[in-house]
């Protein structure tokens, strides 16, 4: 697997598919050369991201785009409902997701691009 390779996974926004996403993320984190501690963090983060996104999904499906680097993995989740990155008065769900994802990941952000809200997270090898 080359540095910067992308893998796209489209799944229904249903809890039963969290495992599919988790296992894919674990597999790709392993490809990125992460040790099991890093992989476990990626699994945790992706599960939180899945739950967060499935509650705010703008469609019936979620697209997970994984970008695998040497010792790192970037995950982008879309499409989320517009306004999910609003600064003012984030809801409790967002605050909780931020608390967990910012603790686990090296980068975490919610952004809007072309009227589509996305969740992006990055985990790097320690």
């Amino acid at each position: 697997m080359a540095d910067g390779d992308r893998v796209v996974l489209i799944v229904p926004a249903l809890g039963e598919f969290a495992r599919t996403v988790r296992m894919t993320a674990a597999e790709l984190a392993s490809h990125a050369g992460m040790d099991i501690e890093g992989i476990e963090d990626v699994r945790l983060a992706v599960e939180e991201a899945f739950v967060f996104a499935s509650e705010r999904v703008a469609d019936a499906v979620l697209t997970f785009t994984f970008t695998v680097g040497r010792g790192s993995i970037e995950v982008e989740v879309a499409p989320l409902l517009p306004g999910c990155d609003a600064d003012e008065g984030p809801d409790r769900g967002e605050r909780y997701a931020r608390f967990i994802l910012e603790s686990i990941c090296d980068e975490f952000e919610l952004t809007t691009q072309d009227a589509v809200c996305r969740l992006r997270l990055v985990k790097r090898t320690v």
């Binding site: 039963e16 296992m23 674990a26 019936a60 409902l81 605050r95 608390f99 603790s103 320690v126």
Partner: protein, 266 residues
């Protein structure tokens, strides 16, 4: 009167397909007009969804009828919490709530979901291999290293992670080998300006959310998210395996998430 004449004559089929228009009308009747019979009709209409979801947990030591019963509680919660303004289909919204209730039932019973013996054994071996290799390499091992050590494929190792993570919650309750773990409460360590407290606004909410979290789990949570320790460091500190730390963390986060962000609260 919110009822429309046709809605009582339109019934959902036995297949897993529901009439979106009828669903919307019933929610409007229930929410806007306060029609309780519309609520009952919604519950009845989506019972097939509960039965379908409950059937996926068959052969796991619990009668399906019991699972349908607890799943129905989830359905009722979903009906009561569903926001008709949200651009989400009711089935999408209700499914995690129903499955959550069913899983909670298993958890409360303390039963493990059945796993093939091969995977159980492999999961156990992977757990031991992680400990052995961590000690030998003086760092956390990689999946290929574990696979080579056990002479299995990397895919099997990853599958074992999932298995290990999902099952045998109860045995963890007895893994309290560290001093003070029996009485540890994270609330004692949370200050006025703490980030976790700022998540929930209210200490009472946090207290309630932590109700289902045992002292060992709270300690792991504290060490990981407040002290910033790695899983390996926590494992060493508590005298348990890194895999157990990982499982405790995921379990704790799920309980916390359910308590802090109940479905439909947004």
């Amino acid at each position: 009167m919110a009822f429309t004449p046709h809605r009582r004559t339109t019934r959902p089929s036995r297949r897993l397909v529901w009439d979106k228009q009828l669903t919307h009308e019933l929610f409007v009747a229930y929410r806007v007009d306060g029609d309780e019979s519309a609520r009952d009709e919604l519950v009845e209409m989506y019972l097939n969804l509960v039965k379908y979801l409950a059937s996926r947990f068959r052969n796991r030591g619990e009668p399906v009828d019991d699972l349908v019963q607890v799943g129905t509680i989830g359905l009722i919660k979903a009906v009561d919490r569903f926001d008709i303004e949200r651009a989400v289909e009711f089935t999408t919204y209700a499914t995690p709530t129903i499955v959550g209730e069913i899983k909670r039932h298993f958890r409360d019973k303390g039963w493990a979901v059945k796993v093939p013996r091969r995977l159980q054994e492999l999961s156990f071996k992977v757990n031991q291999a992680v400990d052995t290799l961590t000690s030998r390499l003086q760092r956390s091992p990689t999946v290929p290293e574990i696979a080579e050590y056990l002479e299995v494929s990397p895919d099997e190792v990853l599958e074992a992670f999932e298995t290990f993570d999902a099952y045998n919650f109860v045995s963890l309750e007895t893994d309290r080998t560290s001093d003070g773990a029996e009485t540890f409460s994270i609330l004692e360590y949370i200050g006025q300006d703490d980030q976790l407290l700022s998540v929930v606004d209210d200490r009472a909410v946090l207290t309630a959310a932590l109700k289902g979290v045992g002292p060992q789990e709270q300690r792991v949570l504290y060490l990981r998210f407040f002290q910033g320790l790695t899983q390996t460091e926590i494992a060493e500190k508590l005298g348990i395996s890194q895999m157990q730390v990982s499982r405790l963390l995921r379990r704790t986060l799920r309980i916390l998430r359910e308590g802090i962000v109940p479905e439909g609260s947004e």
